[in-house]
Amino acid sequence: MKIKQNINHHIAAIKLIFEELKAGNFLLFFIPGVVASIFFLSIYSLTSSTASLFDFLEHIPLIGGYLAGGVNKTFGLLMFLLLQIYIFFVLTVLSPFNTVLSEKLDAKLTGKEYVFDLGQVMLDLLRMIFVVFLAVFLEYFTMIVYWIISWILHLGFLDTIAYILISAFYFGFSFYDYSLERHKQGVFSSLGFAFKNMGTVILTGLCFLLLFYFPYVGVIVAPVIATMIATVVYLKKNQLIK
């Protein structure tokens, strides 16, 4: 029942977002993502060329295949971990823009204007950085705990799904924090919201990851759409809009 409600909230949010974008609203918020995508492309080209440095291993007789396989596997894991850090780095760079986007969308949907003083803005600034660091730390911690459990119980076949769900949860959390911050929730009560509404948060995180893995346009589109989804779903969940 709750899952169905979550899915309905997300579908309604996506419909509303596309109506807004079709009307030409919020399109400028894609510009900061263009800058971030240039960084993404340069980092990607750098790391892929590093992996290809070990291509010569395949030509070693008898053990070459094993060595190359080991290097590729290590690079695969390293790339996954680096990608997580990279996504959070992009989210930190984009966080001021996403905060404004979330605030503008909220004001448009509810008609409520938010006024900030200097102290509030400074606190927001520190919080934007702290939340992302907390999310990275907790994501790695959860992955290590899962990895140990998976190793003991031989749950290797579930690894990919578990890693995706864990990262989706923490990405989702960082997107809901924009709304929670505006509604005067502390960082840890924000984390409490994420754990209480795990399904909602994971679903939003999955939407983000799905969009993020689109080549080239993913980095530009995903943070904006995910921020908008999280804002609308939060308002719907708290019955602040219909």
Binding site: L28, P32, V35, F39, V93, S95, P96, V100, V121, L125
Partner: protein
């Protein structure tokens, strides 16, 4: 107030990466470093001023 303070985050992150990269290439001129931070702040400020 948001307009002045929010651009600090992209400025610090992108500016620091830029400085680290150019230091590796052998460029350590202080005025260039300061100029690059100012450039990133100006870029972020301009984008944010269009959005707010």
């Amino acid at each position: 107030m948001q307009l002045l303070i929010y651009p600090l985050i992209p400025t610090i992150i992108l500016g620091t990466i830029n400085v680290l990269y150019w230091r590796r290439q052998g460029y350590t001129n202080l005025s260039t470093i300061i100029l690059s931070y100012i450039a990133f702040y100006a870029l972020s400020y301009t984008i944010l001023s269009k959005l707010i």
